[in-house]
Assembly symmetry: C2
């Protein structure tokens, strides 16, 4: 991650039992000697980390680290899910508004020096927004669309109480009956085996012709051919997609030229907002403080599912 | 305006003393016989409307109708300000988010098949948003940015109580001390003599280099050369402009090609959102009901200022 501030380091360094080494490009020797790693090391470099007690990822997704052989059995894997919520949710929200207000089309017109009215636009006021994968990002997004007057439906894998900013909460098994109701479908699914090509021809065909699809989860969750067909055949009205099966998206991909698709280059999260870095540093500090005092850790990843437990 | 629904007509037709004629293209005879006109007739066609008691415009702006000679003295002029608030405010909000999240630049990259990270983006969370012209539109916009965590400063011509969604309220005389504080300046000034080229070189130079300027009021309020210079010289970061001094903007205007300027073709209001038409019909019905029963009218335009009193 980016250079930590003095204040962030002070919050982290809570125990004299450990030495704290800050190195953005550690060599193998340093990496393999570590008891705790905070960062995003290449998965292939962790094989011989015999001392490693836990790895605190600075990313939200953990899929590359749960594969067998990456970490020695028993190593605790922690993600930074939550830190990216504000950034990703705000960008997903901006994409949603951009599409329903046709700003992407007006931008194209501008580039052609064309003053042309694109007709009706819709509103989130009174719209039904379906959030698939109601985790930390989904909750922030839910709050934003709710504040604009949307009805919010959340979908999760596991039952839980319905949060205040969500009107209806269902399990993912119910999705097929919910898709036909949604004016906006915002997906924040992680990249796991279970979510591979989750958005296929059938799912898109269940959406309204006027629906806007947003994907800020992982690219493997959408079948790109099915997405392209749905957009070109008018099965959905528009899509805003930040994630793709292969990134960077190849220059020759047919997706680039789809007018009613807005593409961003996996740029909604990362360190794009200053607040994110501070939230990551806070999670790392909280977890290290908890670890040395034997308290429960945040964002422990389940190796079976790839999700935070 | 667009065809009124049966329900909208029923709400309007409250008196048997009047005959109700619905005609989207009235001839001179019909127009000149009317006691009340609801619509947006060409100003030049109103000269001989000797019977006209009041003109209920279906537009928000009234500048073309307050000029001497357009309406006979004593004719009441009513605007539909308020009806467009939701539509204009939502589009201004979408433009704001599009610009701070750099979606206009990502759209350009998409059109070039370029996968390129544009770096940091900002947030409305903790940002200071200055709304110049805090009328009906400004209040809706204030509520939207406030819900995202912004600090809202409103500027008005006349003193009033500070609305709940506004943190600080000032008179327009104080603007020069407020501009340097704003991360976003959203202007909703009408097109009057007093606002002509209000945003000039000096005003732009007072804004932060990181500021985003939004104009959804009237195009005459901005000096387009000063706006262009401010954008090209980095005096402000970006602008989203829906209104221009001459509309349509000419094909050869140098504004089209400014990368950090997002242009929309006076398309934030109008009948772009279905809810607007119903709000206009409601204002027209409320005013006619009030008129026939001698009650106070809404949205009475002051011929001196061009504003609603």
């Amino acid at each position: 991650m980016a250079q930590m501030t003095k204040e962030q380091k002070t919050r982290l360094e809570c125990s004299d039992e450990y030495a704290y080494v800050y190195d953005r490009n550690p060599d193998d020797e340093l990496l393999q000697s570590a008891n705790v790693i905070i960062g995003l090391p290449k998965p292939g470099r962790l094989k011989n980390c015999e001392n490693l007690e836990y790895l605190q990822l600075t990313s939200s997704g953990a899929d590359a680290y749960v594969k067998p052989g990456v970490l020695k059995p028993g190593t605790i894997l922690l993600s930074s899910t939550g830190a990216y919520s504000q950034s990703v949710a705000e960008s997903a929200f901006a994409m949603t508004l951009c599409l329903i207000k046709k700003l992407h089309l007006y931008r194209d017109d501008q580039n052609r020096h064309v003053w042309s009215d694109r007709g009706k636009v819709t509103s989130l006021r009174g719209a039904t927004v379906l959030i698939v994968g109601l985790g930390a990002i989904g909750l922030v997004y839910a709050g934003l669309v709710k504040a604009m007057g949307a009805r919010v439906i959340g979908v999760k894998r596991r039952p839980s109480e319905c949060p205040e900013c969500v009107d209806e909460l269902y399990l993912v098994e119910n999705l097929e009956s919910l898709l036909p109701r949604a004016d906006v479908v915002c997906s924040i699914l992680p990249g796991t085996e279970a979510t591979y090509h989750f958005y296929n021809k059938e799912k898109f065909s269940l959406m309204k012709n006027s629906a806007v699809f947003i994907n800020v989860g992982r690219g493997t969750s959408q079948d790109e051919e099915a997405l392209r067909d749905a957009l070109l055949n008018g099965e959905i009205a528009a899509a805003g997609v930040d994630v793709f099966e292969k990134e960077p998206l190849s220059e020759g991909s047919p997706l680039w030229d789809i007018e009613n698709l807005l593409i961003t280059p996996h740029a909604t999260g990362g360190d794009h907002m200053d607040v994110t870095l501070d939230l990551i540093a806070q999670i790392a500090a909280d977890n290290f403080n908890a670890y040395v005092s034997g308290k429960p850790l945040r964002n422990v990843v389940d190796f079976e599912t790839g999700y935070v437990k």
